[in-house]
């Protein structure tokens, strides 16, 4: 009899960061009373624009509360990254290349109607509409580490279901070896797809891929929400992939199509710079990126400059149970 899957990380959830700590930051600014600082600073709002414009905007994307279970196996004791940070520090080049651009530019994304197709080498092609995404499978909350290839990391409470549940429903043919994912292509809504400067000059739509065994791993998750609510657009609404043992760029956002294939599918960053980004992109402290050492990372939670947030990066981002899938591979070659 197969033993039930047990994740290596199994702790309790009681360290949730208080949202109020984060929301009070403006007060601190006001109390400074620095003469002329605000007028001086307004000019350089580009990168530091964060503190001037977060009064609740009326045209913010509306997220909905979700109901879900919280299996103990996926709670961890590490401090969560505050919700406001998770939703304002994003790489989503479809909405601009700076970290704050997606939160600013993605609020108008239309997620209803939405169609997620599952096709290719399957017995039972599927089409899920917007409601199906949250209603077809029982939802659960899982707290995962997110390790970006840029050597920073977060801890995020995702809500979703296992990718394998979706794939099983579509029933992959025995010829299926890989799973290809595709993000929405909609230049009218995604300024980065319209202009090379906004989108960093990468080819759209964004595509990603997994080997079938990776996709069928219980850790691989389709997320439809975070922090108890449906995903905001900058985090990949209405549905995204989360593969916690791989660098963040593998966890493709706003997915419209999942295709089972017999060949390794092209992936966006690999296509752009194959020497920097491999197909596998497993978190690996021993294989450095040409621009960043991957041996350690800075964990983004609360705390300012003086908090010592650099921690050692763990193999497979600490999810050691995936190691057996790569046991005969040279991971410095298949990075």
């Amino acid at each position: 009899m197969p033993t039930p899957f047990k994740p290596s990380v199994k702790l309790t959830d009681n360290d949730v960061t208080d949202k109020n700590v984060y929301l009070n930051r403006r007060q601190l600014l006001k109390s400074m009373g620095f003469i002329g600082a605000s007028s001086l600073l307004a000019k350089s709002a580009g990168a530091a624009g964060w503190f001037w414009e977060d009064e609740k905007k009326t045209d913010m994307f509306k997220t909905q509360p979700l109901s879900f279970s919280t299996p103990d196996a996926y709670q961890i004791s590490e401090t969560l990254t505050p919700q406001a940070k998770v939703t304002t520090y994003n790489n989503f080049y479809e909405f601009g290349t700076s970290k704050d651009a997606p939160a600013k530019n993605a609020q108008g994304l239309q997620t209803t109607p939405w169609t997620l197709k599952v096709d290719g080498l399957v017995e039972n092609p599927l089409e899920l509409d917007a409601d199906d995404l949250t209603a077809s499978f029982p939802l659960e909350e899982r707290i995962y580490r997110l390790r970006c290839v840029e050597a920073w990391s977060m801890v995020v409470p995702w809500i979703g279901f296992e990718l394998r549940a979706l794939l099983k429903k579509a029933a992959p043919l025995s010829s299926a070896k890989y799973v290809a994912f595709e993000t929405l292509y909609s230049p009218a809504q995604m300024p980065g797809q319209k202009s090379r400067f906004m989108g960093g000059g990468i080819d759209y739509p964004y595509v990603e891929g997994l080997r079938l065994d990776e996709a069928m791993h219980p850790l691989s998750m389709m997320a439809v929400g975070l922090y108890g609510e449906t995903l905001p657009p900058q985090n990949g609404a209405p549905i995204r992939l989360v593969v916690p043992w791989k660098y963040g760029f593998k966890s493709i956002k706003s997915i419209v199509r999942i295709r089972l294939t017999d060949k390794q599918p092209p992936t966006t960053w690999n296509r752009l710079a194959a020497n920097e980004y491999g197909f596998y992109a497993n978190v690996n402290p021993r294989v450095s990126h040409p621009r960043w050492s991957q041996s350690s990372e800075r964990r983004i939670t609360t705390g300012g400059l003086l908090s010592r947030n650099r921690i050692d990066t763990q193999m497979f981002n600490g999810y050691r149970e995936v190691a057996s899938m790569y046991k005969d591979m040279d991971l410095s070659r298949f990075y």
């Binding site: 989108g199 752009l272 960043w292 041996s295």
Partner: protein, 215 residues
């Protein structure tokens, strides 16, 4: 090209007030950035914001110093030149803050990591080169040193153009793709410096021609 008939002149009081304002803004912004950073009011990742802001403002100030001599010529006015050393020194101060942020808050004084990053990351090497040159310019920016150096002073300080190139290369290289913000900075730098680049190239060419004619 002359924009005005009369050369612009400031009273010494105006000059003093302007300088005070520049000091106040340049230092004030740094103090503000570090204070907000320490109190976690500098965006989701204070280190990232601080790196970006100190870096980008070092470049902005560098561009301003490069604008001053054409401005003096075309206004015309001797005044812009009174501010060039001061703003130039602030380029170095911002570059220092940028490097300090990287070492103290990004790498957090992990010596092994600092060493390996400086050796093996091309964009860091390029940035460090620019920093060393900037340091030399700052160290020789005092009038006494300038007088003592004579002709060599100008030769050394022409390396500001090399610094501009290295800095923009560092900026471009630090991005994950080419088509981003730095492209605009390159365009601006080329526009700003085209006359001077042409001058330097022409000068070199004539020198080379003359040498060939002689032999």
């Amino acid at each position: 090209m002359r924009l005005l008939n009369q050369p612009v002149r400031f009273s010494s009081l105006t000059r003093l007030v302007l300088k005070a304002l520049i000091h106040l803004s340049a230092i004030g912004y740094l103090v503000f950035l570090f204070y907000s950073g320490v109190t976690d009011n500098l965006g989701p990742d204070p280190v990232d914001t601080l790196l970006n802001e100190t870096g980008i403002w070092a470049i902005h100030l560098l561009f301003i110093t490069l604008l001053l001599s054409p401005l003096a010529k075309h206004l015309p006015s001797p005044e812009p030149m009174h501010f060039r050393r001061m703003i130039g020194v602030y380029v170095f101060v911002y570059a220092c803050s940028h490097l300090a942020t990287y070492v103290l808050f990004e790498l957090q004084l992990d010596m092994a990591l600092i060493a390996s990053e400086i050796i093996s990351r091309p964009y860091i090497i390029v940035g460090m080169l620019a920093f060393v040159l900037l340091f030399l310019l700052t160290a020789t920016s005092f009038m006494r040193v300038r007088r003592r150096m004579g002709k060599r002073w100008q030769q050394l300080h022409n390396s500001i153009y090399v610094i501009t190139g290295l800095t923009l290369l560092h900026f471009s290289w630090s991005q994950k793709t080419f088509w981003q913000e730095p492209v605009f900075y390159w365009l601006f730098a080329v526009l700003l410096l085209q006359g001077r680049i042409r001058g330097i190239v022409l000068q070199a060419y004539t020198r080379w021609r003359r040498r060939r004619v002689k032999t």
